[in-house]
């Protein structure tokens, strides 16, 4: 009786004990920083007199001042538009290639599948900084094999690190780094489709293309939704690639992406209050987009299930 009760009590408390380390870390390194950032975003430094001596710089309540400043700041908006343009290239191209390669891997009688699968997945192991560095050199006119080839062919050589081509150059780095991972996710769910499903379609005379379009792609739709979702979040957060390319070109400003602008304001200018307000806005936009997207995806799935 007593042991039974003690055991029941132990079982009751066990999950909380198991979750304790995660909960403590979450409180310290997620909840507390987020709360602190929101609090900072409503504060500002007030400088009285010449700003000299103790008490000349005081932190005071700012209300929504930092938010209105951030939302009317052209630099933040420009950064957001640049990232939007960048994302419009990266996400469709990366997921399109990932889906294409996954379907090819899943097709019959394909040769060298293990080798190519590993090769395409390899960039996942390479840090974004190193990837940007490698491609950065491949874009440099003096080093680039593309420039060399174009020169020999007598064609004009565009500067890949300037203006419009810069978007392509940056997008290419992201596509290169992310395709393999997404390919694996899609390929995994392709493999989980029972063989009888396309076996039956083939017996009915469907071509491989028809099987891919009518059967395989609809059946992996959930994992496409998932990869799409994570790609958008990753795109919004682009930071290390443009930061790495910066030393190689003058066209990447310190405020190229919204997160670079936040970093610049916090550590370049030392205005943590403005940075906190911008960070909060970006977090809110990310959350709104994520939940909006997930709800839309859920609704569609329910509709399809109801049909």
């Amino acid at each position: 009786m007593t042991t039974a009760r003690r055991r029941a009590y132990g079982v009751k408390g066990a999950p909380y004990a198991f979750l304790l380390p995660a909960a403590i870390l979450f409180a310290l390194f997620f909840a507390l920083p987020i709360g602190y950032a929101v609090w900072l975003s409503f504060r500002k430094v007030k400088v009285s007199g010449l700003g000299l001596g103790s008490g000349a710089r005081r932190e005071v309540w700012a209300g929504l001042e930092n938010y209105t400043a951030a939302l009317t700041d052209g630099e933040l908006l420009d950064g957001a538009l640049r990232v939007l343009g960048y994302g419009c290239i990266v996400v469709p191209v990366m997921l399109g290639l990932a889906l294409l390669f996954a379907l090819m891997l899943d097709s019959e009688k394909v040769r060298l599948a293990p080798f190519t699968r590993l090769a395409i997945f390899l960039p996942y192991a390479i840090p974004g900084v190193v990837a940007a560095l490698l491609w950065g050199f491949l874009y440099l006119p003096d080093v680039s094999p593309f420039h060399f080839a174009l020169d020999r062919l007598g064609l004009p050589q565009p500067d890949l690190l300037d203006g419009g081509p810069l978007y392509l150059a940056l997008s290419n780095i992201a596509v290169w780094g992310g395709t393999g991972f997404n390919m694996i996710v899609i390929y995994t769910s392709l493999r989980s489709i029972p063989a009888e499903v396309h076996e039956a379609a083939r017996l009915d005379g469907a071509t491989p293309l028809q099987i891919a379009l009518r059967i395989k792609i609809p059946m992996v739709a959930p994992s496409l939704v998932l990869t799409f979702f994570f790609s958008i979040i990753a795109t919004l957060q682009v930071f290390s690639e443009p930061t790495t390319l910066k030393p190689l070109t003058n066209s990447v400003s310190t405020t190229w992406s919204p997160l670079m602008k936040v970093y610049q304001d916090a550590f370049g200018k030392g205005d943590i209050h403005a940075a906190a307000a911008q960070a909060t806005i970006i977090a809110l936009v990310t959350l709104l987009l994520s939940f909006g997207f997930l709800r839309a995806a859920n609704r569609r799935q329910k509709q399809e299930a109801a049909r």
């Binding site: 198991f18 390194f29 987020i34 040769r111 395409i120 997945f121 190193v130 996710v185 930061t243 990310t286």
Partner: protein, 301 residues
Amino acid sequence: MSTPAVRTPEPAAGTTPGTAQGPSPRRRIALIPTVTLLLGALYCLLPVAWVVIASTKSGSELFSTFTFLPGTGFAENLSDLNAYRDGVYWQWMGNSALYAVLGALLSTTVSSLAGYALATYRFRGRETMFNVLLAGVLMPPVILAIPQYLLLAEADLTDSYWAVLLPQILSPYGVYLSRIYAAAAVPADVVEAGRMDGASEWRIFTRIALPMMVPGLVTVFLFQFVAIWNNFLLPYIMLSDDEKFPITLGLHTLLEQGANTPALYTLVITGAFLAVIPLVALFLVIQRFWSLDLLSGAVKS
């Protein structure tokens, strides 16, 4: 592409009854898929091939000879890199290894505990806790990193190893994966049987559940290892002393200086080449027993 003869252990078509699918069907190759995949592999290997070749070039060869032609300066580049600031490059590599190994180990431990609890117990606040943890995935790192920096500065921990290690231990994605693995790999009646035998909850976890979760936990470990090894933003914000830099940050500063002194470019390239080796080697070794499928959270029953 010829098929290696070793890969034909099955009897020839003629000797097997009931396989009358036309002449040698196994030699037919799906050409379009194979070529597409080879082009994809070429695209993915191109920069890697470039860095291998470029690291053999001396400073003058880098800008004068054709990109994919090997040079003569590899040994010189290596000794230059070795000599740069008393071998600070190796310090960076060591730091990366320390952050990644220790961070991933701690992260896997925390994830396995939390994932197991979320998968096996029914308790109040379970779904809330899981959803709150998952929302952590959505938080852009920079948004966390700035207040994390300010808070760690309060605790006088910025510019220390702790500043890079501590914020990376909890991985919401790791918890999510662990929950899936625990749910798939640890049957409820095994846990119940352990309780019948009078084992404590902790003993059931360490002796019964943990061994069953190992394949999944290897994936969590590797995932976190790669994430920490590749992380740039957090150390970029937290550290100013370059003796504590991980390799990503070290290469970045080297490239930044190289913009003013192009002689450093060969160091950056050789450094990048050497930095790629450990992770690529790790991938080639582990892919034998590490199912890539596990990475996406899919568990076969």
